[in-house]
């Protein structure tokens, strides 16, 4: 029996406001559904669905993944974005039955698109859920987000993992579904948004899975990791801490190199805080990234700064760039009424 169990406080590396680590996800979801009951409800264990379903049948959008990334994924359920979120245990994909329940919530006869980050566990579980749903006669497609340029070479783009680009892809797909597009159309748009989106992050300090008693990874007192993933997966380089502008420059350079020659394009720019990094710092990083992108000839047409998809109390941030065409631009700007994304 570790100190992490039982009814006492949880004593790990980081001080956490949790009770029993076993219950952290359930309690956070209960809190989430209670706080935002005007927008969502806990429709089944680990499933957050819209409070009120769309009035007319539409393509359903189910999103999901492991927990510990709050406000993702439940924070993007609502009008104009997802119909339901399937929430797993911490850093663990939701199981097929949870995903299937989410599909049931999202399904109104016009098919369901499942959107998730490209991780082995998610691929397995969403795949199994899709089989179950298809056996029930529900048409299901999926989009695996692969925006993290640090996670695989360009020729292996299908191996890349999904990080903050999730939000952009889900927003575009959700808006397409909301305006009544067909499943094939919504899927096409999701694929297009994913291909247009690239991200790269920097980790400054680790995070701790509740109950683990120690951080998942540790960096030296002055060390950072560029390209590290949201669960602590290694990145492209470890090195000493640099000024924000230098870090922003490195992230942007990697993204731009991966995009190929696209200068002059309109882009959306998202700076995502991973959990512990100050909001002030996020805006400083945004400024550096924007300047670097403008110097590279891009026009920043839309910006998002904040904690969109976190890794518990991990310190660091990521930069996401989406090249926009008129359609993606319009879909990004379409109204949304979710807990975390309101416009």
């Amino acid at each position: 029996m570790t100190a992490a169990q039982g009814t006492g406080a949880y004593h790990g590396f980081y001080k956490k406001l949790i009770n029993d680590p076993f219950d952290a996800v359930d309690e956070a979801l209960e809190g989430f559904a209670g706080a935002h009951s005007d927008l969502v409800r806990l429709s089944a264990p680990h499933v957050i669905a819209r409070r009120v379903a769309a009035s007319a049948p539409k393509v359903g959008l189910v999103i999901g993944g492991g927990s510990g990334h709050e406000p993702a994924f439940a924070g993007y359920v609502g009008r104009g974005m997802a119909d339901a979120a399937a929430c797993g245990n911490v850093f663990a994909s939701p199981p097929p039955d949870v995903i299937l329940n989410a599909i049931h919530e999202a399904s109104s006869g016009r098919g369901v698109l499942m959107g998730y980050g490209n991780y082995a566990g998610d691929v397995l579980n969403f795949g199994l859920a899709a089989e179950l749903a298809i056996a029930e006669g529900i048409e299901v497609r999926e989009i695996r987000v692969t925006d993290d340029v640090a996670s695989a070479a360009p020729q292996e783009i299908e191996k890349r993992r999904g990080i903050a680009g999730d939000i952009i892809v889900f927003k575009c797909a959700g808006a397409a579904a909301e305006r009544g597009d067909s499943l094939a159309e919504v899927e096409r748009i999701a694929v297009e948004a994913n291909l247009a989106t690239r991200s790269m992050g920097v980790a400054l300090a680790g995070c701790e899975v509740p109950g683990a008693g120690r951080p998942t990874f540790e960096l030296g007192a002055d060390e950072i990791s560029i390209g590290m993933g949201v669960h602590g997966e290694p990145g492209i380089s470890r090195g000493p801490l640099e000024p924000a502008d230098a870090i922003a420059g490195a992230l942007v350079a990697a993204i731009v190199a991966d995009m190929g020659p696209q200068a002059g394009r309109e882009i959306a720019l998202l700076v995502n805080g991973l959990g512990a990094t100050a909001t002030m710092d996020q805006y400083i990083l945004y400024r550096g990234a924007r300047r670097a992108l403008e110097a590279a000839g891009f026009h920043v047409a839309r910006s998002y700064v904040g904690e969109y998809i976190t890794s518990l109390e991990m310190a660091g941030a990521s930069v996401t760039v989406t090249t926009l065409n008129d359609e993606l631009h319009e879909l990004l700007d379409a109204p949304a009424r979710t807990t975390r994304f309101v416009q």
Binding site: F22, G66, N89, A92, S93, Y119, L124, E208, A212, R214
Partner: protein, 221 residues
């Protein structure tokens, strides 16, 4: 009396709880650090399944345990689930299953499990996954069958093969799943999933063998 399947499973659940910190630590080296907590969720779910299916025959019980493991999600949930489901299927398939543990039946179960995990996850031996503990177990059973060893001896050797297989993953470079991106850095630490599998096997086998020895000595007396 022989240990019931139920006792073996309970012992395995206890072993997973006891190993929770170690599993989390191993997964943190090359993965995302959740394997301890995820497997502990699995132990809870499995205990609940045992509780709710007190009268289920072995194959049905294993199927329920498989569903319990599926319910934990992650990469590991479906992997354990598919392995256990095919094991249950192998038990059902063995004609006139009378509860007796025989080598060919055990081998059929192990092969089914290895086949299922391979089919689902597309890993091969050497990729530094749970398969590197599962495959040696199956191969050990196959060798024991060829040598016509007594069942208990074969089971004991199979357990040791799983443990050795898990330990040997320490020398491997991860090349699949979340850990794959660490490449060379993953060498020197055993794989988390292989280790949890070896823990489970050891606990279940030791429980089985202890009861079997008790029965033998009881019969001898």
């Amino acid at each position: 009396m022989t240990a019931s399947l139920r006792d073996c499973i309970l012992a395995a659940a206890d072993a997973v709880d006891a190993g929770r910190d170690e599993l989390g630590r191993l997964d943190a080296v090359a993965g995302d650090g959740d394997h301890g907590l995820t497997m502990a969720h699995g132990a809870r779910a499995v205990r609940r399944a045992l509780e709710e299916n007190r009268e289920a025959p072995p194959a049905d019980l294993l199927a329920k345990v498989a569903m319990a493991m599926a319910s934990i999600g992650g990469a590991i949930g479906p992997i354990y689930a598919t392995g256990l489901l095919k094991t249950a299927g192998a038990i059902r398939a063995s004609e006139s299953w009378d509860g007796a543990v025989t080598l060919d039946r055990l081998l059929a179960c192990a092969d089914a499990a290895v086949g299922a995990v391979t089919a689902l996850g597309h890993a091969k031996p050497g990729d530094k996954t749970i398969l590197d503990a599962m495959t040696p177990l199956a191969e050990s059973l196959r060798a024991s069958e060829a040598e016509a060893l007594p069942v208990d001896e074969a089971i004991s050797r199979a357990r040791d093969a799983a443990l050795a297989g898990a330990a040997a993953t320490s020398g491997m470079i991860a090349s699949i799943g979340r850990a794959a991106r660490l490449g060379e850095q993953s060498r020197g630490t055993p794989d988390a999933g292989a280790t949890s599998f070896a823990m489970i096997v050891r606990a279940a086998v030791d429980t089985y063998l202890a009861a079997a020895r008790e029965q033998t000595s009881g019969t001898a007396r």
